[in-house]
C-alpha cells in the first residue's frame, strides 16, 4: 500500500512543480508587456498635458508676437484649410462655367478677393500688433505654465518609475515565492524518490528510445521488432520504401495506434524519463512531443496567429469558466501567447501572413505555418511526417533551411519521415532505413547511401 501512496504523492508533486514552472514562465513573459502598457499610458498622458499647456500659452504668444512652432503649426493648419476650401470652390465655379459655356474669370476674381479677405482675418488673429508689455506678460506666463507642466510631467514620470519598480518587484517577489515553493517541493520529491528506485533510465544523450516495437494489422506486420534511439539535438530521419511502416511508427509514438508489443521511452521537457505506452494521445504534447501530419491539418476558419494559438492549448492555465467570463488571467495569457506566436512567425519569415486566413495561401506557406505551430507548445521533440510531400524544389530547399534553423534556435530534436532522399541526406545527422517494418541499417547519411542492403530494398534487389 505504501509504495502506491508514495507513487501517487510523487506524481502529485511533479504536477505541482510543472504548474509552478508554467506560472514562472508566464510571469516572466507577461512583465515586459505590462511595463510597455504602463509606459504607453503615461506617455499619452504627458503628450496630452503638453498640448494643454501649449494651448494655454498660445494667446500670450499671439499677443507678444512670438512665432513658436506650435503657433506656426496652428496657423498653417488654418491657412491650409482656407486654401483647400477656395481650391474646391474655384474648381466648382470653373466646372459650372464650362458646362454653361461661360467665362469664369469674374467669378474667380471675386473668389480670390474673398479668399484674401479671410487670410487677412486669420493674419489679424494670429499676428496682431505687439507691445512690450505683452512680451513681458508672455515671459511671465510662459515661465509659470512651463513650471506647472514640468512639475506635472515629473510627477507622472516619477509615478511611472515607481509603478515600474513596483510591478517589477511584485513580479520578482511572485517569481521568488514560486521558486521557493518549487525548491521546497523539489526537496519533498527528492525525499520521496530516494525511497523508490528509478523505473526507467536512458543514456545521457538519448531523447527517445524505441525498444522491440511491433504492430500488426490483422495478419499484416506493419512494424516488426523495431528498436532505435534518437539522440538529443539531432535531426533523425526514418526512410524506407512505400508501405515500410514509417508512419505507423509515428502513430505508435504519438499513441494514435496501440502497439502490440514493445516499449517506448522519452525524456520529457522536465528531464524525466516517461513511459510513452502509459500516455493518452492528447497528453503526448504535454511531455514535449509535437507532430505534424502528411496533409496540412490547419483550421481554415482561424487566421494564422490563431492557428498557432491552437497548439498552445495545453499551456493555458485559465479554465473553462475563465474563458466563459473572459477573465483577466485569460486576457493576460492571450497577450503573452499572441506575442510569442508573432515572434515565431517573424523568426520563420512568415510575418507577412500573421493575420491572413489560411484559405488560399500557397501549399509551401501552409507547411511552414504547420512547422511554426509545432513551436508554440515548447517542444523537445518535433515529429514531421513527410514535410516535403507536395512541395517543389525551391520550397523544399526553403523547408530544409527552416528545419535546420528550428533545430538550432529552439533547441529541439527533430524526427522525420521523408521520401525526398535529397532532403534527408542534406539535413539529417542520423538516418534509419526500414523495410517491411524491420530495421535495415542505421548510421550517418553517407553510410546509408553506401549500404548495400538499403540499395537492394529500394531497387528491389536481385
Amino acid at each position: 500500500m505504501v509504495p502506491i501512496i508514495n507513487e501517487l504523492l510523487i506524481t502529485f508533486h511533479e504536477k505541482r512543480i510543472n504548474s509552478i514552472k508554467t506560472k514562472i514562465n508566464f510571469n516572466e513573459n507577461y512583465l515586459p508587456i505590462k511595463l510597455q502598457n504602463i509606459t504607453e499610458k503615461s506617455e499619452k498622458k504627458i503628450k496630452f498635458l503638453t498640448l494643454k499647456a501649449q494651448e494655454r500659452i498660445l494667446p500670450f504668444e499671439i499677443a507678444a508676437g512670438v512665432e513658436s512652432d506650435y503657433l506656426k503649426g496652428k496657423y498653417n493648419f488654418h491657412l491650409d484649410k482656407i486654401n483647400d476650401k477656395y481650391y474646391w470652390k474655384e474648381r466648382a465655379v470653373k466646372a459650372s462655367a464650362s458646362r454653361k459655356n461661360l467665362d469664369p474669370k469674374d467669378q474667380v476674381q471675386t473668389l480670390l478677393e474673398e479668399k484674401n479677405l479671410e487670410i487677412k482675418k486669420l493674419n489679424n488673429i494670429y499676428f496682431p500688433a505687439t507691445s512690450n508689455d505683452a512680451k513681458t506678460e508672455y515671459n511671465n506666463q510662459k515661465a509659470v505654465i512651463e513650471n506647472e507642466l514640468n512639475s506635472k510631467v515629473s510627477l507622472i514620470t516619477e509615478t511611472l518609475n515607481k509603478k515600474i519598480a513596483v510591478t517589477e518587484a511584485l513580479t520578482q517577489s511572485k517569481i521568488d515565492k514560486l521558486i521557493v515553493a518549487k525548491a521546497r517541493l523539489n526537496e519533498k520529491l527528492e525525499k520521496l524518490t530516494s525511497k523508490k528506485e528509478e523505473r526507467y533510465s536512458l543514456d545521457q544523450d538519448v531523447v527517445l528510445s524505441i525498444k522491440n516495437l511491433s504492430m500488426h494489422f490483422g495478419g499484416l506486420k506493419a512494424v516488426d521488432n523495431l528498436s532505435f534511439d534518437v539522440k538529443e539535438g539531432e535531426i533523425f530521419g526514418l526512410i524506407g520504401p512505400n508501405g515500410a511502416g514509417k508512419t505507423t511508427v509515428f502513430n505508435c509514438i504519438t499513441r494514435f495506434y496501440r502497439p502490440n508489443s514493445g516499449e517506448m521511452y522519452f525524456k520529457n521537457i522536465y528531464g524525466e524519463v516517461v513511459h510513452l505506452n502509459d500516455k493518452q494521445v492528447h497528453n503526448i504534447i504535454k511531455e514535449g512531443i509535437v507532430r505534424t501530419f502528411q496533409n496540412v491539418e490547419i483550421v481554415w476558419e482561424l487566421n494564422v496567429v490563431d492557428n498557432l494559438l491552437v497548439a498552445a492549448h495545453t499551456i493555458y492555465r485559465s479554465g473553462f469558466f475563465g474563458h466563459l467570463l473572459n477573465s483577466r488571467l485569460l486576457r493576460q495569457e492571450e497577450k503573452v501567447m499572441r506575442k510569442k506566436a508573432e515572434q515565431i512567425l517573424e523568426d520563420l519569415s512568415l510575418g507577412a501572413y500573421k493575420y491572413a486566413y489560411p484559405l488560399g495561401l500557397p501549399y509551401g506557406i501552409l507547411k511552414k505555418i504547420e512547422l511554426a505551430r509545432t513551436l508554440m507548445a515548447n517542444p523537445k521533440l518535433i515529429i514531421l511526417d513527410e514535410p516535403a510531400a507536395g512541395l517543389n524544389d525551391a520550397e523544399t530547399d526553403d523547408l530544409a533551411k527552416i528545419i535546420k534553423k528550428i533545430q538550432k534556435d529552439y533547441n529541439t530534436t527533430i524526427f522525420l519521415v521523408e521520401h525526398d532522399m535529397g532532403l534527408v541526406m542534406e539535413i539529417c545527422d542520423t538516418v534509419c532505413a526500414i523495410s517491411f517494418g524491420k530495421k535495415l541499417a542505421m548510421g550517418t547519411p553517407k553510410e546509408i547511401q553506401n549500404s548495400k542492403i538499403v540499395q537492394e530494398a529500394y531497387l528491389g534487389g536481385e
Binding site: F217, G218, T247, N251, F256, Y257, F293
Partner: protein, 377 residues
Amino acid sequence: MFDTTGFWRDIILSVGILFIIYTLLKIFVFKRFKNKDRAKEVGLNIALVLGIMYLFLRIYILIDFNLPDVIPAGNFMLSNILNQTLQVSVLALATTGIVLIFKTSTTTNFAQGIIATFGAFVAAKLIQNFTLNYTEMSVTTAVVLSMIAAAITAFIIGIFVDSVIIRNSKDKTPVGKQMITMGLVLVLSGAMPLIFGKILLPIPKLSYAPNIQFTFLGANLSITVHAFYALIITVVLLTILFTALRFTKWGLGVRATASNELVASMMGVNTKIITAMSWAIAGFLGAVAAVLLTPNATNVSVGLMTPTQVNAFMAAILGSFSSFLGPLVATVLIPVLTGLLSLVVPLWQNAVVYLIILAIVLVKPMGLFGKKVAKKV
C-alpha cells in the same frame, strides 16, 4: 408499482450478466485468438442475439403469467406479432428508400415521408374521382390504380428533387443536403392543404374480405387480407429492387457510387442518373407504403408518415446504413417489439424500444450488421 412482476429486474439483471460475461471473455479469452478483433465482434453479436432472445422469452413468461389459463400465451403472442404485418411492410418500404438515398447521396432524407404523403393525397383524390365517376369499378382496382399513380407522382418528385434542387445546390455537404430535405418537408406540408383542400380524404383497404384463418405451430391465427396483400406487394417490390441491385448494371452503379462517388464517376458511371433514380425509387416505395398505411388512419393527413419516418431512421441506424439486409431485419424487429411491449408496458412501448435501440447502437456504433471502418490517421 412500476415493476410488480419483476420483469424489468430480470431484464436488467440478464443484461448485466451478459455484460460481465462479455467483459470477462474480452479480458481473458479473446486475447488468445489469432484475430482478436474478429473474435470480439463475434462475441458481441452472440451476446446481442442472446439478449434479444431473452427479452422475447421474458415477455412470453410475463404474458403467460398474466393471461387466464384458457388462452395459450404462445397463440396470443404470435397473433400479436402477426397484427404488425402491415406496419412491418410499410416500414420495410420506407426504410429501404432511406437507405438507398443514404448510399448514393450520403444524406438522410427527411422528406421521404412527406413525399410519400403527397403521393397518398394524389391517390386519395383519384379514388374520390373513381368512386364518383366509375361506380362499377371494384375497390381493389381503384386502390391499385391510384397506388400506381401515387407511386409515379412520388417517382417524378424524387427525380425533380435530386436533379433540380440538390444537383444545383452550392452546399453539397451531407448536412446541407439534409437541410434541403427539411426545407422540402416544410414546403410540401404547407402546400398540401392548399392543393388538396381541407376535406377529409379516405383511402379504402385493398380488400374487405374476411380475415384469412390458418394454423401455425398449433396456434390458430388470423390476418387481414389488406395486411396480407401489403406483405405480398412489399415482398415483390423489394425482391425486384434487390435483384436489380445485385444483377443489373444500374445496381452495380449504385454499389459503386455508394463506395465512392468520385471514383465511380471517373470510372464512367453516370452518377447523376444513379442518384436521381435512387431518389425516384425511394419516392416510389414511400408512396406505396403511404397508400398502404392510410386505411389504418382512415384519412390522409400531413402527419401520416411521421412516426413511420422516425421508425425508419431508427431501423436504418439499428441495422446499419451500410447494408440493405440489416435495416430489413430491424424493420421486422421494431414493430414486433413495439407490439409486444405494448402488452407489457402500455403507453411506454415506443420509448422503451428507442431506449433498447440506443443501447444496442452504443454497444455497436455501426449497427447490428455494420462493419467497423478503420480510421486512417
